[in-house]
């Protein structure tokens, strides 16, 4: 069974699980949340469409070699800082982010720098923040979360420096 299928099963399983709980609270509760969820879906679809369909173009014009070059060979804390900026600036989805990390590792990038890159990408890749997080969450929360997250790619790189390579 493929991982994607497994995750879909878990996802819909959870939806049915919480749906069942809501249903047992009474059909009005169930119907209200069903309507709420569907309205959210309808409202969000245009943005998701724009982002997902458009992200291919954004990814196509940013040369991946440039970003992986930033992660270059062991470059100390300056390299970590560059990696954090690169992670935030990486467009496109997980394939692009992780591929850049892999290329950087294979072409002699420092391990702490690559860890900082992957963690920074996971925490605040601009495209995910703008496309997914802002539409779903209060903007004030999103900016606050991003600001608070800034130290953590550096913390991850520091841990990586201490405990060594995988």
């Amino acid at each position: 069974m493929s991982a994607a299928l497994l995750i879909d099963i878990l996802l819909w399983g959870s939806v049915f699980g919480v749906g069942l709980i809501a249903f047992r609270r009474g059909p009005p509760v169930f119907k209200a949340s069903l309507r709420e969820g569907s309205m959210d879906f309808i409202n969000i679809v245009p943005r998701i469409a724009l982002g997902v369909i458009g992200s291919g173009y954004i990814a196509a014009i940013i040369p991946q070699e440039v970003i992986s070059g930033w992660l270059g060979p062991d470059s100390g804390w300056l390299g970590v800082a560059t990696a954090v900026v690169a992670g935030a600036a990486t467009p496109g989805g997980p394939v692009i982010g992780f591929s850049i990390g892999t290329v950087a590792l294979k072409s002699g990038g420092g391990v702490p720098q690559v860890v900082a890159y992957v963690v920074a990408w996971a925490l605040f890749a601009f495209q995910r923040v703008i496309l997914w997080e802002i539409p779903f969450m209060p903007a004030r929360f999103v900016w606050f979360r991003c600001a608070v997250s800034v130290p953590f790619p550096f913390v991850a790189a520091a841990i990586a420096m201490v405990i060594g390579k995988p």
Partner: protein
């Protein structure tokens, strides 16, 4: 169902009172405009470089990607809506609210780690938690945990592309980060917005 309860007893004076973050429901905002502009410029550059074929190639690929994601977005929205409906507010604000301490951050972290799905689940559910009384700290712990130690992206993308060794090692390194991020968030929040929200509510 989701009547804003402005006079529900704020369990803690500093409890932030999001005006019931009207989940999603925003009109086309500036973030959409930025993305639209970025996409338009990028598409124009691709067209200049690769011609119409290049533009169409990317379009068909991304359309199929979009088709695949759509049902999951629906699942995420429904999950968020059900969760915000069935979670009892008092209980959530007790176990995930501003006064929930380390335990609240750990619960948020555990929740983010086991949550299935991608951004289409994590953000609607996080937004639902905020709406039913979780504070910024616990919600930050949940979002950071989902993105750094959640298994969804790791299994689907990181392990196949970066390898199992790197991925597991990276996850081990990331284990303390959600709680630390949540704690930092809480620490900064109470200093940044002391009682600001209750003032807004009163107004």
């Amino acid at each position: 169902m989701s009547e804003p309860s402005p006079n529900s007893p704020a369990p803690a004076e500093d409890a932030e009172f999001e005006p019931r973050p009207g989940r999603v429901r925003k009109p086309i905002g500036w973030s959409t405009i930025i993305i639209a502009a970025l996409v338009a410029v990028s598409a124009a550059l691709v067209w200049r470089r690769d011609g119409t074929d290049g533009v169409l190639d990317i379009l068909t690929h991304d359309l199929s990607l979009f088709g695949g994601i759509l049902p999951r977005v629906l699942a995420g929205c429904l999950l968020g809506a059900f969760i915000s409906e069935i979670l009892p507010h008092e209980k959530v604000s007790r176990s995930l609210g501003p006064k929930s301490g380390l335990k609240g951050l750990l619960i948020g972290t555990a929740f983010g780690a086991i949550l299935p799905g991608g951004p289409f689940t994590a953000y609607p559910v996080a937004s639902a938690l905020l709406a039913v009384g979780a504070d910024f700290g616990a919600t930050i712990a949940m979002v950071v945990s989902w993105t750094l130690i959640g298994y969804g992206r790791a299994v689907a993308w990181e392990i196949p592309i970066m390898g199992t060794d790197f991925t597991l090692w990276r996850i081990v390194i990331s284990l303390p980060l959600p709680v630390l991020a949540g704690a930092l968030g809480r620490f900064v929040y109470v200093r940044l917005y002391p009682k600001r929200d209750s003032d807004e509510d009163a107004a």
